[in-house]
């Protein structure tokens, strides 16, 4: 019994960080964007495009960290398209998000075609389990070097939003654009910049997909992780620190299928893959209420109206 339970447990714990890191970055990016009152479903496209950019950058420059930087730039640019166009009158941010999702995926597949075969330098893990003799434990404790950056961003976002003038402006724009306008703040400029910053953060998630795990570029890389992350923000009630815990939880759930496969339980592979989606839906059904807006939700958010 222990032969199966322990390896699966370690794989799930390690997977919580490995699989959860992209969730973390995308949900933090979305959290920042939504705090300013706009929803960007296009982060799914940002995730795919930036993962391709990260791989391409690392492959061409020979440095994984150059790839990470390129992923952030690509993410910010694509999110910028969403940010700028949603500032126009009558342009619907949810629909534009879907369009940006399609455009980002299309661009990534088009530009990423020559990148499917080659190998690029990958990010070296931070090994915490070196002292342990168990191979599984060592694998579980080889941590994605981007993960600590994500934790820092989560802490920083939580602090900045709660305690600084900048955070107050973002939250005011998200809760009442009229009040912000009365203060002489340009609502569009704030929203465009939070959307672009959110895209850059989500770009780190893309980089961790191609440069750490799974560590190569192909067209099946992202299958809705960006969308799960967007739903996670609702689960986390728009709090950056809660995004961290939610991402780890979902990373663990997502690691269950491959973990069971590694110990020879193959028959229900796709069913386990479906677990994160089912879990997200269940959480949404339990967390949402039909008649009033969710606690913690920015009131300008169009999903809330």
């Amino acid at each position: 019994m222990n032969d199966i339970v322990l390896p699966v447990l370690w794989a799930v714990l390690g997977g919580a960080i490995r699989v959860g890191t992209p969730f973390l970055f995308v949900s933090l990016g979305e959290c920042l964007t939504e705090q300013s009152g706009r929803i960007n479903l296009g982060l799914e496209g940002v995730l795919v495009l930036s993962s391709m950019a990260a791989f391409g950058g690392a492959y061409l420059s020979g440095s994984a960290w150059a790839g990470v930087a390129l992923a952030m730039v690509a993410g910010a640019l694509l999110a910028g398209v969403h940010g700028v166009l949603c500032g126009l009158r009558r342009v619907n941010d949810i629909a534009m998000g879907i369009a940006v999702m399609m455009l980002g995926t299309g661009l990534a597949f088009y530009l990423g075609k020559p990148l499917i075969q080659p190998q690029a330098p990958t990010l070296q893990p931070i090994v915490l389990g070196g002292a342990s003799s168990s191979a599984q434990l060592q694998a579980a404790l080889s941590i994605n070097p981007l993960f600590p950056i994500g934790v820092v961003i989560a802490l920083a976002l939580a602090w900045l939003l709660a305690n600084t003038r900048w955070g107050l402006i973002v939250r005011m724009v998200g809760d009442s654009s009229d009040a912000a306008r009365a203060q002489g703040i340009s609502v569009n400029r704030v929203r465009t910049s939070t959307t672009m910053a959110g895209g850059a953060i989500a770009g780190l998630g893309g980089a961790s997909l191609t440069l750490f795990y799974p560590g190569s570029w192909n067209e099946l890389l992202s299958s809705g992780q960006g969308l799960i992350a967007i739903a996670l923000v609702i689960f986390a009630r728009w709090r950056p620190l809660a995004c961290l815990w939610a991402s780890l939880l979902f990373g663990g759930a997502g690691a269950l299928g491959p973990a069971l496969q590694s110990v020879g339980i193959n028959s229900a592979y796709y069913l386990f893959n479906a677990v994160p989606y089912a879990l997200t839906l269940l959480i949404l059904i339990l967390a949402c209420t039909p008649h009033r807006r969710l606690q913690g939700a920015p009131s300008e958010l169009s999903v809330q109206r």
Partner: protein, 352 residues
Amino acid sequence: MSPRTLAAIEAAALPILAVAAALLAFGLFAAWGGYPPLEVWRLLFVGAFGDAFSWQNSLQRAAPLMLTALCVAIPAQAGLMVIGGEGALVVGALATAAMPYLLAVPAGIAGTGLLLVAAILGGAAFGALIGAMRQWRGVNETISGLLLAYLVINLFKHVVEGPMRDPASLNKPSTRPLEESLLIGTLPGMDVHWGLVWGVIACAAASLWLLLTTHGFATRVVGGNPRAAGLVGLPAHRLVITACALGGAAAGLAGGFEVAAVHTAANASVISGLGYAGILVSFVARHQPLAIIPVAIVLGGFGAAGSLLQRRLGMPDASVQVLLGFAFVLILAAEVGRGRLRWPGSRSRSAA
């Protein structure tokens, strides 16, 4: 020139301008990659509508797009943005392929009808679930629709590669192929299957329902102004869930045709993004069911031309995806121009 005619001209002109701008942007994008833009544009046209063969190819692709576009357009009339059409299509395909496993399907047209009814019901249940979650629990339909789509795609793969796998399908896991008598043939004298006719019928029926029936009108009232709908006592929950179910039914039917007329069995080929392309079709058609028919043919044509771009110029297979992405972004951005079209000398309508 009455404001009404002007609005009608504008409703047609804005999407056409946006698609033209997308073609221009795509040409520049191709030129940046070293492909000759003039040749790209020419091949897009030739591949879509150049001869009888490409016309048939375009119509073949347009048929499922009409049905999946309805999955967006009908709920949009009730004020919802349901984009889980890919999921409804997959459910419809699975329901069609599963029927022979569940019961003895009669041979011939009665059996085919039974399969398509199963597809419609499966898609409708999928759509109704999205609507119910939205109305009863306040779950955003855009997010739940996408999540449900990923969920059912995984269930589909599980069933196709597990319990319902045909042992004879070695390299590409599939369900057992449908019997010959159950398959749907092509239209007389053409290479296009009957799904095209049903797509046109569904769009026409949806249009009549919206414009001529009380139920359709009530749905549009709920979508246009939920508060007014509540004040006059319209059953918003029922109308919204029905609209979602009808949309899901259309996409489910598309899945049924994919199995019974194209692939003959349920396998991974069914999941080819038709549901997502339908979203774009519906937006370009401004969620008007009748307008979906020509838009689906044009965008289906671009899809057909994609393989020609790949063959002649060696462009990546995602080229058309990029073109459609440009088109989608621009069509939404074009909304900003609505109400700005003026006849020289007349007052701006947006001021009125």
